[in-house]
Symmetry: D2
Subunit: 352 residues, 4 copies
């Protein structure tokens, strides 16, 4: 069976995408001459100021290289003695970081089952039962992902409820925001939305993603003031996440925050996912749900699945249920979406 021409972009992951031209320009912009290394430069100072404005709070800003690094640094800032981290079974820190948190932090991750990849206040209450029992690691940090690994979203109220419950038991809250921009766009689309779902809701530390949103290996950790005993920067270095030429990381965030590009790119990705859903939702075999952000989780059995993956690669998700993941990115075009949808239709038609 013949498939139509493949799209120019994959629907595999937003980290298959390149770097947005404006971020390339940002890198060029700060490339003149010598500046103090390790963050003692003006671009780093300016980007930190912009982050503090975004947060409406005097957060500590730590630029880092990658997402796993951001999570490890953030957790190292929040964890106390003999504590554990509560997260869902599907959390990126639990499944996709090769045990980096356990290795670097020496910490137990207590993972709770969840159909929508979200932690609930009841999960926290249940975990808090271990407090005071010397045979159990002490629940110290709750780690949420927004948008979640299943493409779902916590509402602002849900995050508030989680933070309230966590704080009630003396725990702190980490938000893995590898795709925080996609979530902000979906829930309001402005700085106020970001504030409300993070520090406003009570979150203590945010891994703020840049790479999946069009940047060149750039992430940031935002930390509520007064945490980590003033040692956050030392922990970043111990975690091997202190960029010596930090100006290039910082400059990208400066552009993102000063121009709003971080929301614009995320909006593109979200819209393309919605277009893909609209283009294929009539195909009941796919069992598509309306996307909240930039990913779809269709059901797709072999041989169609393999045939389509060879044609235009995407990842398996849960093969026990024939589930795959389609993901759009900041540079996915509407034409890519239409070509992809046509391919899916053709492959499914060939099967029938």
């Amino acid at each position: 069976m013949a498939l139509p021409p493949a799209p120019h972009r994959f629907f595999a992951s937003d980290n298959f995408s390149g770097v947005h031209p404006s971020y390339m320009e940002a890198i060029e912009r700060v490339n003149a001459g010598h500046v103090v290394a390790y963050g003692g430069d003006d671009a780093t100072r300016r980007a930190a100021v912009l982050f503090r404005e975004l947060c409406g709070l005097d957060v500590e800003v730590l630029f880092v290289f990658g997402g796993t690094g951001a999570n490890v640094v953030a957790l190292s800032c929040l964890l106390g003695r003999a504590e554990s981290v509560l997260c869902t079974t599907m959390a990126h820190i639990n499944t996709d970081e090769t045990g980096a948190p356990e290795r670097f932090l020496g910490v137990k991750l207590v993972d709770v089952a969840s159909t929508d990849a979200k932690v609930s206040p009841a999960d926290i209450r249940s975990a808090a039962g271990a407090l005071g029992n010397v045979h159990h690691a002490q629940p110290g940090v709750v780690s949420l992902t927004q948008a979640t690994e299943m493409g779902t979203l916590y509402t602002v109220d849900e995050i508030s409820a989680v933070c309230d419950e966590a704080h009630r038991h003396g725990m702190r809250v980490h938000l893995d925001g590898a795709r925080i921009a996609n979530a902000v766009v979906a829930l309001g689309g402005d700085a106020e939305t970001f504030r409300a779902m993070t520090f406003g809701a009570g979150v203590d530390a945010v891994s703020f993603g840049g790479t999946k949103n069009g940047m060149l290996n750039a992430e940031a950790v935002l930390l509520r003031p007064g945490l980590a005993d003033g040692r956050a920067g030392f922990l970043r270095k111990q975690a091997t996440q202190l960029p010596s030429k930090m100006r290039y990381t910082a400059a990208q965030f400066e552009t993102a925050l000063a121009t709003g590009l971080w929301l614009e790119t995320a909006r593109c990705a979200n819209e393309r996912a919605r277009e893909l859903w609209l283009a294929l939702r009539d195909l009941s075999t796919l069992d598509l749900r309306e996307p909240a952000v930039n990913s779809l989780y269709p059901t797709l059995a072999d041989p169609t699945r393999s045939e389509l993956q060879e044609w235009n690669f995407f990842w398996d998700w849960d093969l026990s249920r024939d589930q795959v993941r389609w993901m759009t990115s900041w540079d996915t075009s509407s034409e890519d979406v239409q070509l992809f949808a046509a391919g899916v239709r053709a492959a499914l038609a060939g099967v029938r």
Copy 2:
């Protein structure tokens, strides 16, 4: 007292420098469209091939974000159970990585005193006395730095002797090559020189520096085939050093190795240091030694020291002996050198 105009570049560190235009072009070159993340792209494959040609050996090539990360990944690949790492007291892994090796690896660093920042075969023989004693961490890895933290060089024969002694006791050898290009230039200047001082001499893993030599947060770990049980890539991820958009790191190394730029930039830095030495060696108060690579370690007492640091920043080195460090980089110009030398002369003259 009036000082002349300050140079355009600092003499503080080569990591104060920016990114070489050719590396910026390399980044632009690979920025089109989607590619598989985490190293499944063509630029990564091509750069790895070039590294294998450089080494004359089927080394495993692991691109990473930073120098501390490279060292931690390399050591994690070499260390066996209950082992320690032997290095000098001045080793970067011992003094300038905030304990990252101990934290991530859970390993003891056994540091030996050294006036020239070099490990000797006798140091290894002495450490080997601990082998078999259950109360001592077992010497497992020797870590050398080339060029050293004192700007000195091991000859190829010295590295061979260290490797032979280490291997005789079942130990492996790591070479921290944050400034390996400067050493290669100083000792021969071609690929054969590199081979001879690393894998040819018996080194088992190399941290190959890019950042200090003009790249944008790019380092590589080169690993002798057959080590780390095939798990080197997993250890890199655990160490939070796996770049998702690896093409940008790899592309820079592709340019470096294909064009010889890595040696050209290092040669510039070395030559400028030599020019600075020539310009000031008559000033006996500085106690300057002829530089082997791109750094000088003058004696400079206050208030001259502080006055000059305010004028054009550089780092203190060992204040117990009024010692500072001057370092040139790939972009230091001869004009910078002359201006800097003039400033030093003026400041010293003002004191007298």
Copy 3:
């Protein structure tokens, strides 16, 4: 309501019991004069020989202080680079060791749900799906508990099947035998039974419990020959589990193995649990299952539960289902059982 006189022993845990008189004698027996510390003494040598005879294999024998220590040492001997440990959610290493494995080993525990606290070959096959994926910790060790934390038993065939499946994927098998004697008694009661369920079935390392079975803070790790690169003893010291006065630990095991006392004491505990079951099984509200070893898991709601715990303390087990645990030990008498049963009956009668 009046309860009868309380028993002389608790039904809380076998570690509430004291030290068997024969083990006290063993300690006295070796208390004369000076011997080489850290295991270089004759009692240690003799006990190791007895363990090798028991195993029918030239196992490495490591005496240690405690059960968590034994597990950590055993796992440290089995784990390779970037690996994880597979166990059930109820595993002692997962729930009752305060995260010691994660903290000391830097390892991820991958816990699988299980109603009977047993790992199945299917669990291993499923986990093996992560092999080769750089984003996942690599399944390296399967940890079983025999008897399990739920008082259930693996048959020898079940352990063989688990070991076969694990080895098929290059994984090793640890058996947490904190109550291994109770299991051996239940499944045959002789040395051959022990061999069959451990090294004969393919287990690679055993935590062999002594403390819960009447000893004074004495456990042993038994290791299949050829593992841990000859470094098991160093790992024990790193884990702070090397007793300097090892003769006292070893002497107890010498008595246990030479006289068969380890099986005799376990048989007492098992028989008392059975007597308790016989005495109360008519009370359907308790929902008692016939015990395989020395514990029962009755359903017991408040206020009866609290009333009985005040009268003669025992532990809650799963309060979400009003479940508690009753456990007998080597020194529980039949009279204790009858008194305890009478108390339970009286309390339940008072409620109705």
Copy 4:
């Protein structure tokens, strides 16, 4: 050459000795019936009260199995984020614990050279230079050993000076007291002496040794109130140092403190060392210094050294200077001393 009959005890180490009869009685004393495990028993409570009286302070008391465990637990209670431990090169934690502190704590030990195994305030001032520099692990804890590994003693004033200097820089002080009783006897011999050299001087945590002083695998960690965020007990469990049958450890300390036996046994050991010195000090070839506690460090060259070690084993100390160590213990008799001295004389005479 014929040597006289060997002594009944070795002069190798105080951990070659057995258990004092009174401690055996203490173990028997608490061996009746069931008590709550993990320290919830009366013996543990009573021993803790005695320790608080000894300290004149409401210290937290943690009984543990061994000396390395005690040190690791104590340090884990004192260390903050990204900190290092300052100690001498000869410190037990640095040389004789197989890297257990680095492995468990992920911490850098910064070791300073010292001829008498003592840390000075100047060492601390020098280390404090790293405070605030993000590239250096932050000096957080100073670890002293009293009596030191060289058999020397800090005066109370010296400990006070170290603590003052440490606290001035925000650091805490750990005292490794594996042989604290020998030090107390040497410097005054009563509870007040102990108080003065520990918490009175400003020490924050003490590893209080029992094993080398006649106990059965029994040590304690004493912690100044308010440290470790109330998590000391959890850290002990994570370090695998929580004895389940704690009553036997506690009972020995109860006897020790209630009867003063801990000082009596240490006094015996110290006196025997002095007797040995008196018996041999005329032999200038031995280069004996008057012992402060229970060890001598003679110069003894081969073949005499080996001949004597075969006759009655003792340890080499620093073979680069032909130095060995002779150590007495609580059970060394004056007859042992005279026999040993006679052997040494005979061996040396045979050489001449």
